[in-house]
């Protein structure tokens, strides 16, 4: 071994120790993705072998030395049909199989816990409903579907977790979602895979998968005091949204209680579901969708609220199932006091705690 330079030697060792053909399978979808992947690899290998065998075989059998005079053949419809139909069939199988995966990965289940991710040049900002903020890291529990609601505040980014086999672009100006259910605790790579400028390759981080208990501990350990919804509530008050969005008879804006996921009728007559994306639009480009019976008087908050702010507002409105606290913010100019519900329920059900108080 002495004649091999130490550098090369180290390198070989490193390679042999690190060698892998595909990343760890740490999510529920990963094995299914790999199943399809290896099916395709198999098909490709078979296809390649056939082609190579044909070429090599014919080259040997019919080389000029062995076979000096070529036999002219027009072609063969049967053969051509075969290698039209068989590949087509295989491709269609892959198409259907892939489409099923695609729809699963991009259609989050209703019971998924929602985590917001904001991409900016060049970092990932993660907002947990409980108010935990993370940068270039994502802590999640095993055995629970996690939905990411992604947005970018500048350019395209792409949130990729190879170990989970999921990836989704964070687009400026629009929410996108992806979901996964982690299976094995550990730390995995988190990449930005969409070229986003100078430090694109620095926009990486760790996804830390923990057992539910550890995750609970982590949540409590790293809470910022306010739940996301409470931040939203403060913002709601300080932007005095409640001046219009309340239940008074002369209210200039629709009440927002239970508005989330309800069907709204717009002034144009069409109806629309008030999902996250809609709420965001309604804050930043209010006049694009006017709720029936209201004037387009709401000013835009473009530039006044950061993406995180919008997320907090959305999270607040999502959980706003009574107007009680809205009324409060109307009566008191100062910011609302801490609600006991806030800390206890990191999932951001802060206003829900007020249910009992409600007359």
């Amino acid at each position: 071994m002495d004649h091999i330079s130490p550098v090369l030697w180290q390198f070989l060792v490193k390679w042999l120790t690190h060698f892998a053909l595909f990343p760890p399978e740490a999510s529920k979808i990963a094995p299914e993705m790999d199943a399809l992947y290896f099916f395709m690899v198999l098909v490709s290998l078979v296809g390649l072998t056939i082609v190579v065998l044909l070429i090599v075989g014919f080259s040997i059998l019919y080389s000029k030395t062995r076979h000096p005079h070529a036999v002219q053949i027009e072609g063969s419809t049967v053969l051509e049909a075969t290698w039209t139909i068989i590949p087509l069939g295989l491709f269609l199988i892959m198409f259907v199989w892939g489409a099923l995966l695609y729809f699963r990965i991009y259609t989050p289940p209703a019971n998924a816990m929602n985590i917001y991710v904001v991409g900016k040049q060049w970092m990932w900002k993660v907002e947990h409903p409980g108010g935990q903020h993370e940068i270039n890291a994502l802590h999640i529990p095993t055995g629970r579907p996690v939905q990411l609601t992604l947005i970018s505040q500048d350019v395209f980014h792409s949130f990729s977790i190879p170990a989970f086999r999921v990836k989704r672009e964070a687009i400026p100006g629009r929410y996108t979602t992806v979901w996964f259910e982690a299976t094995t605790p550990g730390t995995y790579h988190l990449f930005c895979t969409q070229y986003c400028g100078t430090n694109h390759s620095q926009m990486i981080g760790d996804v830390v998968v923990m057992t539910p208990d550890d995750f609970k501990k982590w949540l409590e350990g790293s809470t910022s005091g306010n739940s996301l919804a409470q931040d939203g509530e403060r913002l709601f008050a300080s932007l005095s949204c409640s001046a219009c969005h309340n239940t008074r008879p002369d209210a200039r804006g629709p009440s927002l209680a239970n508005v989330y996921n309800s069907r709204l009728t717009l002034s144009t007559g069409e109806t629309i579901t008030a999902d996250d994306a809609y709420l965001r639009q309604a804050i930043l480009n209010p006049s694009q969708h006017i709720t029936q019976g209201y004037a387009p008087i709401m000013p835009t908050y473009q530039g006044q609220v950061s993406e995180e702010g919008v997320i907090a507002l959305v999270e607040y409105i999502k959980n706003l199932d009574s107007d009680y606290r809205v009324q409060q913010t109307l009566n008191t100019t100062d910011l609302v006091p801490e609600s006991p519900g806030g800390k206890a329920a990191p999932t951001g059900k802060a206003p829900a705690a007020q249910k009992e108080v409600k007359p």
């Binding site: 991009y106 007559g269 109806t271 629309i272 999902d275």
Partner: protein, 121 residues
Amino acid sequence: MSEHNGQFEQKDEHQQEHHIVSPVVYGSILLALLVGTGLTVWASYIDLGEWHIAAGLTLFWNPVVALAIACTKMTLVVLFFMHVKYSTKLTKLTVASGFFVFLVLIGMTMSDYFTRAWGRW
């Protein structure tokens, strides 16, 4: 196919080449075009209403009419001013394929925008 193309194609074009459209035709086309212009302006001033095909999908008649008139005018220009009516299959095919790809661009791009609401984002 091979017979239809080749120099035969050139031959029948050769005959087409000298088909001269009479000024009378041009004149009447001009008239039609001017009338069409007047029509489309006039139509834009009256509310032709709308058609609620489905929830969230409404068709306003004004733009439809405006575009219909525009297409008619285009067809007249293409057929007569640009002599396509008297040209070879090849020319007709060329024009057709042009509009086809144009529609593919617009249509398939739109297919994305219009079906986005179907999914949950």
